[in-house]
Symmetry: C2
Subunit: 125 residues, 2 copies
DNA sequence: GCGCTGTCTAGACGTTCGTCGAAACAGAAG
DNA sequence: CTTCTGTTTCGACGAACGTCTAGACAGCGC
């Protein structure tokens, strides 16, 4: 379940070199913008952002769905849907071990997004 | 325009201290998640991401709408709508000087979002 | 004043998103 | 094999989004 037959995916970008310089350096090309925007869109929901945070801050680097679901006043399928969105955006990885499924963050992707938003030290403001 | 008269805005967060530690350190509280997610959602559209990039990378720190609009195969009102979204998310500032309106990035906000996505140096990956 | 250009607002339309309940799938335990 | 629990997929519905056209507002020049 990597992704559809789209042109690019964030995972592809991560596999290679750092995809883009910071947005303050030069304009993002249209193709990269589509891929990167999909990653930001995945983070653009409060539930998913908290899920991402819980996964990224898990003590062992991974966390069980059974621990994520009860943390929100939402149904199981809804949480699963959000996790799928994060998965398709390339932000997290899932692995089934026996009965439970464990989620793990992809630090490389997060670092790329952070680098994209980096700006030089402020001159005026 | 999800949270107009809501509890917080990203601009408020920026005015004060750094709002949140990186998501890899601890789980984002629900209130902060709502504000931060709205910022990521604003960046979650290819057009807006490119607009943001063009604004942030403008040589003089600001750029005229008349320069942004012809860069996309979209109508003027549509571009204006996207700029309004970026404005309401607190990511950019607008100023009218005579006939033209100039947009300028808010580096502090971008830095906060970048800091949020920062993760420690990779152990294995 | 009048017209012209640039930008934003208002309303409408089709698409996408977030949520749910019901059902299907995967493993573990009797 | 049967049953039970955990997780995902499937359809459906209302809300939000992205886009458009038409109109309104702000400055400049005649």
């Amino acid at each position: 379940m990597s992704n559809q037959a789209a042109t690019l995916t964030l995972t592809d970008l991560n596999a290679g070199q750092p995809c883009c310089p910071p947005i303050s350096e030069r304009r993002i090309p249209a193709e990269s913008a589509a891929v990167l925007a999909s990653a930001f869109k995945a983070l653009g929901d409060p539930v998913r952002l908290q899920l991402m945070s819980m996964i990224a801050s898990a003590p062992d680097g991974e966390i069980c769905v059974c621990e994520l679901t009860p943390a929100f006043p939402l149904s199981g399928p809804t949480i699963s849907h959000h996790l799928k969105t994060l998965r398709q955006a390339g932000l997290v990885d899932a692995e089934r071990r026996g009965t439970w499924v464990y989620y793990r963050a992809r630090p490389g992707i997060l670092r790329q997004l952070a680098a994209l938003l980096t700006v030089e030290a402020p001159a005026g403001s």
